[in-house]
Symmetry: C3
Subunit: 300 residues, 3 copies
C-alpha cells in the first residue's frame, strides 16, 4: 500500500467498504476484535507525527495486533544505519506489516522492494500520503453518498503536498472533478495533464464546489520563501465566511490537520457546520484498520 496512484477504482471501493464495516468497532463498549491477534505491526516513523502514528497504533490495537513504535530519534538512525539495513533487520524479526513515514519521496517503495512484509506508506516527502486520501474519500462518500461527479477544490501548497497528490489520484480514479488553487509558486506545472483544473485564485476553485480541502501551510518551511508572508497568504487563500458562499450550500470543509487557524482556514469555518475535519480523524482509524486487515490476508 504505497500510493493511491497504483489503486484501481475497485481496490479503493474495497478499502472504503471494509473501513465502513470497521467504523462500528470504535464505538463499542469493548473496542477490540481479535482479527489480528498474534500479528506484529511496526510503526517506523522518520518524521514527527501525532495523529498518523496514533491512528495506526490505535487501529492495530483495536484489531488485537502487537504494535511496535520506532521513531528516528531513538533508533539506529543516530548510528547512521541506512534505511536498507533497518528494513532488512526489521524483516528478519518477522513482523507482518511495516508502516513507514519518511521525509524522502520513495522511501516506502524502497522498503517494499526489500522486505517480504506488507508496507504501508504513512507519508513520504512531498510524494504520497495514501491513507490520508482514503480517509478523505471515505468521509466524502459517507457524507455525500458518492464521489463520482462531485466537484472538489483542493487549496494550498499543491506542489509540495503529499495529501494533495494522493487525493488527486484517488478522486480522479473515483470520477470526481478536481480543481486546485494556490499561489503560483505552489502550483505544479503538469497538473492540467491529469485532468485537474488549476487556478491561481481561491474563488475560482471554490465556485460550485461540493467539497473543499484546505491544505496545511507548513509554517516551519516559511524560511524557504515560496510565499511572501503568512498575512499575504491568508488574505488570498484563507477559507472564510465570505468566500465559502461561492461553494455549494451543502459544501463539506476538510483539512488533514494540524490546522493553522487564521492562515489557511478561519476558525469559524474550521469549527463550523460544514466542517467534517473531526470525522476525517475518526474515519482515519477505520481506514487504517481496513488496510491492516486486508494486507494481512483478510477478505473485504
Amino acid at each position: 500500500m504505497l500510493g493511491i496512484r497504483d489503486l484501481s477504482r475497485e481496490e479503493i471501493i474495497l478499502v472504503l467498504d471494509t473501513a465502513d464495516s470497521f467504523i462500528e468497532v470504535s464505538t463499542r463498549e469493548i473496542k477490540k476484535v481479535p482479527t489480528l491477534r498474534g500479528k506484529t505491526i511496526v510503526n517506523l516513523f522518520y518524521e514527527a507525527s501525532t495523529r498518523t502514528r496514533t491512528s495506526f497504533e490505535i487501529a492495530g490495537k483495536r484489531l488485537s495486533a502487537d504494535t511496535i513504535n520506532i521513531s528516528s530519534t531513538t533508533s539506529s538512525v543516530v548510528k547512521g544505519e541506512t534505511l536498507i539495513d533497518t528494513a532488512r533487520n526489521l524483516e528478519a524479526m518477522n513482523p507482518d506489516v511495516i508502516i513507514i513515514r519518511h521525509s524522502a519521496a520513495g522511501a516506502p517503495h524502497l522498503l517494499a522492494g526489500l522486505v517480504k512484509q506488507s508496507v504501508i506508506n504513512a507519508g513520504d516527502g512531498a510524494h504520497e500520503h495514501p491513507t490520508q486520501a482514503l480517509l478523505d474519500m471515505m468521509t466524502i462518500r459517507a457524507k455525500k453518498g458518492r464521489i463520482e461527479n462531485l466537484r472538489i477544490a483542493i487549496v494550498g501548497d499543491i506542489a509540495h503536498s503529499r495529501v494533495a497528490r494522493s487525493n488527486i489520484y484517488g478522486l480522479k480514479t473515483m470520477g470526481a472533478q478536481v480543481a486546485v488553487a494556490g499561489p503560483a509558486t505552489m502550483l505544479p506545472r503538469d497538473m492540467e495533464h491529469m485532468g485537474v483544473e488549476v487556478h491561481s485564485s481561491l474563488e475560482k476553485a471554490l465556485a460550485g464546489a461540493d467539497v473543499v480541502m484546505m491544505l496545511r501551510i507548513q509554517i516551519e518551511r516559511q524560511h524557504q520563501n515560496i510565499f511572501p508572508s503568512l498575512r499575504e497568504y491568508a488574505r488570498h487563500f484563507c477559507l472564510n465566511r465570505q468566500n465559502i458562499a461561492l461553494a455549494k450550500q451543502d459544501v463539506l470543509v476538510m483539512h488533514p490537520g494540524p490546522i493553522n487557524r487564521g492562515v489557511e482556514i478561519a476558525p469559524e469555518i474550521a469549527d463550523g457546520p460544514f466542517s467534517v475535519i473531526l470525522n476525517q480523524v475518526t474515519n482515519g482509524v477505520a481506514v487504517r484498520m481496513a488496510l491492516l486487515y486486508l494486507l494481512t490476508g483478510g477478505k473485504g
Copy 2:
C-alpha cells in the same frame, strides 16, 4: 479527575478503598485482570516523567487496557498544533481516558472541557497533581489506619509545588492538621486562610508530626534565584537524623521523587526505617488502576 480540590471526603475514600482492592493484583503471579479490555487509554505527556507515565501505563496494562503514549517531543506539538486541536483529534479517535501532564496550570481542565472522554490530571504546572496526593493519602491511611487528626508537615517549595497543593486540599478534606515550612520565598501568602500552619522553620513544622512530606527541590529551576544556594537550603531544610527527632517516634517520611539526596533529605533518612517512599510508588500503580476503573464505569 482534575484536582483534589473538587473531591469530597466520600469520593476520596471511594478511590482509596478501590485502590486498596487493586494492590493485590500487582503481587499475583499473573498481574492482570480483564476489567478494561477493549478500552483505550492515552498518556499525553507534555513534560518528561518516568515514574508517573510508567505508573499509569502499568496500571492500564494490568487492567488489560490498550495504552498509547504521546510525548511532546515526538508529537504534532513540533508542528505548533494547539492543545485544543490535539484534544479534539484525540477525542475523534474514541479513546476512553486521556491522561495529561502539562507545564501549564489548567491544561487538564481545558482538555476536559473540550472532550467527552474522562481526563486525568497527571500534573499541571504548579497547580495540582491529584494522583500523587491520592497515593500519598493511601500510603498514610495504610500505615496509620486513618488520616483524620494526624499532624502532617509538608516541607520545601510550597508555593511552586503541585504536590503540596493537591495534598493540602486532600489532607484538609480528610481532617488532617497540615503544617508547611520553607524559605520565605517559597511560601505562598494565602495559606493560613486554608487552615494550614505556615512556618519558616523546618523544626517548627516537624514538631510532633505524624507524617513529614519532603518536596523535591527543582534544581533545574535554580537559576530563577528563589533561594540563595542548595547548600544554604540544605542547611536549613534538609530532613536529617537530628531534626527528625522532633517528630513523633513513629513518623512516616514521604517524598514524591525524584529525590535529591543531601538537598531536601539526607540519604540515611530517605533509605531509613521511617521512609515509606517506595510504598508510595507501589501504591501509585494501585491508585491509578482505581481511577481508571472508576472513570470507565467501574463501581467502587
Copy 3:
C-alpha cells in the same frame, strides 16, 4: 543475566536449546504464545538502539507479556535521578524483568544488586552484551551443528567492544578457538591470558576460520583518534572478496549491526552467500524469548 562470563557451558546450552524451541513461534500465522501473560517487562534504555530494544519488545509481546519502554531522553534522567533511585522506583511497581542498556560498564550489575526482579544486560559500556553473544552462538550452532573446536575470528575494535568480550567468554566456554585481530590501538593487552590468539593482521586471524565476526567501527567515536582514518582502517581490516578466501570454504560471516558497508565489511560480503547476518537478527528474538521465559520461571 548480566554477562556471559558468569555462565557455565550447561547454562549456555540450556538457553540455546530453549531459543531453538522458540524459533518456530515467530513463523506461525499467530505469532504468540500465552507463556508470559500478566508479566511486566521494562525496557530501560539509556542508549539509543533500534534492533536490541525492538528485538526485546517483540520477544516480550510474542510471549504475551506487557512491555514498557523507558528511554533516557523522556525519563527522569533529565531531572538528574540516579540509576539507583530509578531502579528502586521501578522495583516498587512490581515488574518481572528489567532489561537495561547503559553506557556505563557495570550498570546492570548495580541494578541487579538493588532490585529483586530479574535483570537482563542489553549492553553496558564496553563491558558485555550477553544476548548478542547468545544469539551469535545460536546462529553458529544452527549452521555448523556445534561450537566446539571451531576456529572463530573476531575482527575490529576488540578493546572497546562489548560484543567481542561477551563472545570471547561464551565461545571459550563452549570450546571454540578464538582469534582476534585489529589495529594495535584496538587490541586489549591481557587477551592472551584468556587463551585467545591476538593478531594485528586480519589475514592471520582469518586463516582457516570457520566463522568470522566483523565488529562495527564506531564512526561516531572517530574524533577520539584511536585510528588514523576510516580509509586506513578499511584498507587493512575490511572483510572483502580477496581476504575471505583465506578462511574455510564454508565460512560464516557475522556482524552485530548496524553495518558500515565499505568500512569493516564490503557490501558484497555483507550481502553475500556466507553472510548469516540476518539469521543473527531472527535468532535474536528467539534468544530473548528464551531468556525472558527462563528468568520468569520457565523450565528449559
